[in-house]
């Protein structure tokens, strides 16, 4: 029975016609050969000891060794918060839980100094802080751009369009050199300046997603709310925004992946994120023979995290389609 099903599946999907059959055989041969070579290298020839030795640098960078527990506590806090937000009973408190957890994580990590953050810890914290901070900012700009007030609309449109037309690396660098120029008395660490720059940049993208959500809310909702005598503020925050955010939830999760991937660009202001840590390891002449191992490891980590976020975004989209049908 199973063999018959398998046979008919193969007939349909692999050997439907002559070209398909030839292609299938070619691909199976090529993939098989590649996989054999690759696995042989991974299992026997690769020197994984190097990765194991430098794992600390990869994960937390220059974070003081006796303070490593702080990184674990922060990770536990963030994981708990993600889990709690996904639970059905805590939906209403989701925002509060998330904000408290983020604040607590940052609070726990701050004592050794922002300059000591590094590696994957830096990449993740940057993603968490920037995604969280750019959401309210993005919502404000989205409302501004769809407002009926022409001057407000023009300002918000201008901001969004300018930010979307220049490279992230330029914005981060620009904010990094500009902030000390008009606040010379206070010294702000590179990381904080990077977070500000990245948030300023990402808010424009979030604003465009939210705006598409605002446009997706039917006009009737607004009109019905107005006929009930609600004020403009109540209509926007209680009627339109929740529905708009629900529509763009998958896109916003996708944006988190963009933030995580873009976080590699903070090397421009001298921060050592996960990718930079890997490059620093390769600078050491002793490790120069392990280029392939280091890149494979970094690709694997990035791919696993990225795929997890993409998976979450797709699940949300599928769930939404099911529930709105």
């Amino acid at each position: 029975m199973i063999i018959a099903t398998l046979h008919s599946w193969a007939r349909r999907n692999l050997f439907a016609n002559l070209i398909d059959s030839i292609l299938s055989i070619l691909i199976v041969t090529a993939l098989g050969w590649l996989l054999t070579v690759f696995l042989r290298w991974v299992i026997w020839d690769a020197y994984w000891q190097r990765i194991y030795e430098s794992l600390r640098l990869f994960l937390v960078g220059q974070f003081p060794e006796d303070q490593t527990w702080r990184a674990w506590v922060a990770l536990a806090l963030l994981c708990t918060a993600v889990g709690a937000v996904l639970l059905p009973w805590s939906r209403r408190l989701g925002v509060a839980i998330w904000l408290i957890a983020c604040g607590a994580a940052v609070f726990v990590l701050v004592p050794p100094g922002l300059d000591r953050w590094g590696g994957l810890l830096l990449s993740i914290m940057l993603t968490v802080v920037v995604s969280t901070a750019s959401l309210p900012l993005g919502i404000l700009f989205a409302f501004g751009r769809s407002s009926r007030n022409p001057s407000l609309r023009a300002c918000c449109t201008g901001y969004i369009e300018v930010m979307r037309s220049v490279p992230l690396i330029l914005v981060v660098y620009w904010i990094w050199i500009t902030v000390p120029l008009f606040m010379p008395e206070v010294s702000i660490s590179s990381l904080a300046r990077g977070m500000i720059g990245y948030t300023v940049f990402n808010a424009a993208y979030v604003a465009e997603y939210v705006r598409s959500g605002l446009q997706a809310v039917p006009r009737g909702q607004r009109e019905a709310a107005r006929s009930l005598g609600m004020s403009n503020w109540t209509i926007s925050t209680e009627i339109v925004l929740p529905q708009a955010l629900r529509v763009v939830q998958p896109a916003l999760v996708g944006n988190v992946l963009d933030v995580f991937n873009g976080a590699t660009l903070v090397f421009i202001i001298g921060l050592m994120d996960f990718l930079r840590a890997g490059q620093l390891i390769l600078v050491d002449p002793a490790a120069s023979g392990q280029t392939n191992e280091v890149y494979l490891f970094m690709f694997a980590v990035y791919f696993v995290i990225g795929s997890a976020i993409t998976f979450g975004s797709r699940r949300m989209e599928a769930h939404m389609h099911r529930s709105t049908r």
Partner: protein, 401 residues
């Protein structure tokens, strides 16, 4: 009677008109407040920066742009205006800062244009493969796209540059893959087509005539007979130009003791950033193309099948022409992102606009002004691309019934 009516009419409108007046005043007030707030904020920031700059003894001026740059970059040409057409010349330490920025812009544009062309080709092929009837082909294309989109572009660049191109055999012991392609540590070499020496203006004229006629022969608005005649004239023009000594020779890369020379030479930095951006954007474009194909009405496939068209013919003649009309806005966004992505060239030392601007800023100490100039250039580039795309979109978009 009429008087009473007028009175009634006036009194009934009195309150709404006052309301409307109040609304108008409030509207103008909020307007004024927003404009004043934004202008005030900008002035405050500008003042703070100005004060800070003057306290450090720096003035705000763009005069440094015409000063000599006093540094060199590895590649890049800047236009020099002598007469009505620009001549592209390589830049050196005596070139002005502006010339350096122009050379950087030249490199950015070079990479962006090549990447737009090739990533579209590769992306469309990948996107069509994702709908193949073969399970392996379909999922292989999916896996490639997924891997590209789920990893940062910077690590892809690092990988191509440090783990592939710099690990190639060193110059002198080059691996000559074929006569057409030489790959070694000093870069990638391809044959370069160039005009033969015997080509004169007369033969050039015939080539232009031939191109014009052949292009006209491709237009469908002419009847078939005309098009055959046009084709004939075009071919005759080609023959005439060939008789007059027109020809295209290939300049082959030659392997020497110290590496390959001649032909079209891509430096390792240029090759790495080009490969990265082409592959990366192809991943995104394949997703756009797949979405466009799946968004097409099923009836199109069924109608084509009912007419007896094969799957390949359906995709080529029915599906893709319609899909291109749908996906132009998404493609435009991709092209803009791709152009902005060239800025990561600074990570491997490719002298594109952002990298060069960083050196200019360091050398002249004018960070702030340089960033403003560079930001403006990127803005104009993005607007240029979207204006071009809007133009194309208007020309070929389907008329909405």
């Amino acid at each position: 009677m009429i008087e009473a009516k007028t009175k009634l009419w006036r009194s009934s409108l009195a309150t709404p008109s006052v309301k409307r007046y109040v609304a108008r005043v409030r509207y103008k007030l909020t307007h004024g407040a927003v404009v004043a707030a934004v202008i005030g904020l900008l002035i405050l920031i500008a003042l703070a920066i100005h004060q800070n700059l003057t306290s450090r003894g720096i003035d705000f001026s763009f005069a440094y742009l015409s000063a000599p740059s006093r540094f060199g970059i590895s590649e890049g040409l800047a236009p020099v205006w002598t007469g009505w057409a620009p001549i592209f010349e390589s830049v050196d330490a005596t070139s002005s800062n502006l010339g350096m920025l122009e050379a950087g812009l030249f490199n950015t544009l070079k990479v962006a244009l090549l990447a737009i062309t090739f990533s579209t080709l590769v992306g469309v092929v990948l996107g069509v493969l994702r709908l193949s009837t073969n399970w392996l082909v379909r999922n292989l294309a999916f896996a490639i796209g997924e891997f590209i989109r789920n990893t940062p572009i910077l690590i892809q660049l690092m990988f191509w540059y440090f783990a592939v191109l710099l690990q190639l055999p060193s110059s002198g012991s080059a691996t000559k893959v074929s006569k057409w392609l030489v790959v070694e540590q000093s870069g990638v070499f391809l044959p370069l087509p160039h005009l033969s020496d015997s080509a004169g203006p007369a033969s050039g004229f015939f080539v232009a005539v031939a191109i014009a006629f052949l292009a006209a022969a491709c237009l469908r608005r002419f009847p078939a007979r005309w098009r055959i005649a046009l084709l004939g004239v075009g071919l005759c023009a080609i023959g005439a130009s060939y008789a007059l000594g027109f020809g295209i020779n290939l300049d082959w890369p030659v392997l020497g003791r110290f590496g390959a020379t001649g032909g079209l030479h891509f430096t390792p930095e240029m090759s790495a950033i080009l490969i990265t951006i082409i592959v990366n954007s192809a991943g995104y474009i394949s997703e756009i193309v797949r979405g466009g194909i799946e968004g097409l009405a099923k009836g199109q496939w069924e109608a084509a099948a009912a007419l007896g068209l094969s799957r390949g013919d359906t995709i080529r003649d029915i599906v893709l022409p319609q899909v291109f009309r749908i996906i132009i806005p998404s493609l435009t966004n991709r092209y803009i992102s791709l152009t902005k992505d060239t800025a990561i060239g600074i990570a491997i030392g490719f002298p594109e606009l952002f990298n060069v601007s960083g050196t200019v800023a360091n050398q002249s100490g004018r960070d702030f002004e340089t960033v403003i100039v560079v930001m403006t250039i990127y803005l104009l580039l993005s607007w240029l691309i979207s204006a071009l795309a809007n133009f194309v979109n208007r020309r070929i978009a389907l008329e909405r019934a």
